[in-house]
Symmetry: D2
Subunit: 253 residues, 4 copies
């Protein structure tokens, strides 16, 4: 079991905004979205959290250690610097999926993502300081074996992208269905997953499944800690051990 705190950050009424009064230039939308993600990444990340871009208009963030005020400040900072506003919903639970489920429901209960009246919602309750432990988060960092030599240096870059993408699509589904875990592509050939209490055999099973289904070979390092930053850095170091040892799974505890 883990004790995940997942905050859903949703740009308010974003779809309609992008085409009102007429479609806005794509270059500006892409710039806005990626800058907003970079800012949230910094705002969350410098408090030891992790932010994932996901669909860009709905960012999924791991916020163990951020209290309600920290969330409020993020919301205010977005409102002060962007032409759009954001709603934030904080969910907690023994697995990341349950935590995000709670966060999603709270926001849905407040109104539609495209309701122009529903703006800057801030809902949910963080894990209390008293309930936090060094085991609250389990983070896994996957990458693709020999991606550069097998794909990047050989194939049309789009075909490389397809391979990485199919690996990710299969991994994200399997991890969610079989292990209540949330996996995010983070660039290159890397995927970071916020996991429920998975054991080494669960990771081996997952890697085998992806290999058999879409022929993409993964390896993974796993860390555990009170915050995403610490658990994630642990996972990175374990992944380095995979590289050194030629192993497929390394667990940091």
């Amino acid at each position: 079991m883990t004790n995940a705190q997942i905050s859903l950050i949703q740009i308010d009424n974003y779809g309609p905004w992008t085409t009102t009064p007429e479609p806005r230039r794509e270059v500006d939308l892409q710039t806005l979205q990626s800058r907003l993600y970079a800012d949230i990444s910094q705002l969350v990340g410098n408090r030891e959290g992790y932010a994932f871009f996901a669909r860009f208009d709905n960012l999924i963030t791991v916020t163990n250690g951020l209290n309600r005020d920290a969330h409020k400040l993020i919301q205010e900072s977005v409102g002060n610097r962007y032409p759009v506003t954001a709603s934030i919903s904080i969910g907690t639970g023994p697995s990341p999926v349950e935590a995000l489920g709670t966060a999603s429901e709270q926001l849905q209960d407040a109104g539609s993502a495209q309701d122009s009246e529903r703006t800057e919602i801030l809902s949910g309750t963080p894990v209390s300081e008293a309930d936090r432990t060094e085991m609250d988060l389990q983070i896994a960092h996957f990458d693709v074996n020999d991606a550069t030599s097998k794909y990047t240096d050989k194939l049309n870059e789009f075909d490389t992208f397809i391979n990485i993408e199919q690996g990710y699509a299969e991994l994200m589904q399997y991890m969610r269905r079989a292990h209540d875990s949330l996996s995010f592509f983070v660039g290159g050939d890397n995927v970071i997953a916020v996991c429920s209490g998975m054991r080494e055999s669960d990771y081996r099973d997952t890697i085998k499944h992806v290999n058999e289904t879409v022929d993409v070979e993964l390896k993974v390092g796993v860390g555990r800690a009170a915050t995403a930053q610490q658990a994630g850095m642990g996972a990175k170091h374990e992944l380095e051990r995979c590289r050194e040892n030629g192993s497929v799974v390394e667990i940091g505890w």
Copy 2:
């Protein structure tokens, strides 16, 4: 037939850099990558091109109208403002896939993506001004029907994400295999494709295939012009017509 100019922008030796001398904080990597993408989006986009983040360390850009000097300036601007450098390879061809194939090969011929000696390559030749026409690019803008009411407002956000992602994964593969076209997720429920000379029936066929395979319903607007910005803006207006008319495919010519 089209006359696509596709430039591959590859961060030099990025993988090793992210873990040297030891793994760098994920928040900084995510910020660097998304800011770099935002900058390239502006640099390319304000010359009427389109930039897609793809894998973030390998960006695929549509650069019809950008000459070699414009590419050189992008390369210089990255080198002046980031701790990493970028190589750029320009490919052209009757289909986007062929253009990107050429671009990829030129870079691969120059050395590995993880060769620390291979930096700031600039290769390839843009389409000459004399050969450019108003028909050089065909761009399609897809979105998912009723994504907000069917997914965002109902499901756990990760399950919404899975639905959108599976739709995209199937679309990107099919468009590439069956139609030599490059499709990119651009946030929310939107996918933009740089197409070869596809006809209305090809789009209907593609949408049907995705619907039957992964049960995601798409619609699409299509534009054609000398630059990505113009073709893409045409596609957006056609997509608006789909919304107004309840149609599935609208072609802007």
Copy 3:
């Protein structure tokens, strides 16, 4: 008396870098400098500090409440995302000038700003938590009376700029010499000062001096708190009171 903690953030060996191997494009230098400032503003600001751009390659920041680890993270974040690195020196003292004096000396003792071997210095000791009080910082927010109607809407914009700039140049000197306080232009017609223990009569004297010397009319709101953000927000509210009451000095305690 106050208990200021001032951190000097100096880009390492920046001058030589801007012209090596030959002069870099000014647009990129300006972009780098202003983005670096924006990032440091966020990194410091979201921990309740204030960052001033000053000369851009030497940023002066008010960091009461930021411990050594927070400074280290800022340094690491800059190093991970920019082509340059930064040294940071933390000074404390009963007046801002003394605090900055200490910070400056520590950095100078470590080597020249243009010594290519002196990089990523982190020196100095923050105020201990036990010694912090609600009176540690006094912040004043000045603006120019009727700047829009008297200048912006009437003069050539450069002449407006000259007026504001002369007012600032006089204010910064006088506040430093007469009151050991550090004043920074922050855009528009606004100046924010980190003050030693100044009384209402000191502010009246300062405003009178600037008016008589360069004929620029100022007003000021002043706040006091444990952090720059709280003292500064207090000052802003007091300045609003000046606007409402037509007063010249408002003190928030």
Copy 4:
């Protein structure tokens, strides 16, 4: 004589926005302002123009070579990505001061900078392509002799700042009054001036005046070209020659 094209970019109704409904956090204002400047620097700069932050809410830009559409795109890009909008006024004239005078008047005629109804004005006419020459702009790049050894490595950083600032304040006034030229501090110990047709003796006279008045020693390189980027890069190279030759003024033609 020169043929300057100066565009004034003014954030619409910015002052009131910063305090409505109540004062916004300074960290967010500073971030917004410096990011907006960085973006405009890129948008103008990558078309060979120069942008100066000036008062941050009123940016002065040198736009020879940018037509009306390029200005419109800048305006649209700001509107699409910021919570504020911008008005832009293009002025031309034989000296930079006259050009900016025209630009300022056009904007003032359209309404007050704090008129909430006056938004996104775009006025003025660029220099026609037919009238452009290789002599249209003269740009001077000043720096302070031995600033690092005389100030940065010796003084309290604020006292260094005061010295640089006093030098700049005197230079900006004298250049404007005596030579119809616009000078901008650009960080470190650097000032860039957009000049009218100044001769070598004018520069010597200016440097002497500043030295005698505020005891700051300057040197300067000067370039001339059709665009700010080219003239400015010429000036930088001339300034390098000053460093090599120990000279005070170098003129690049």
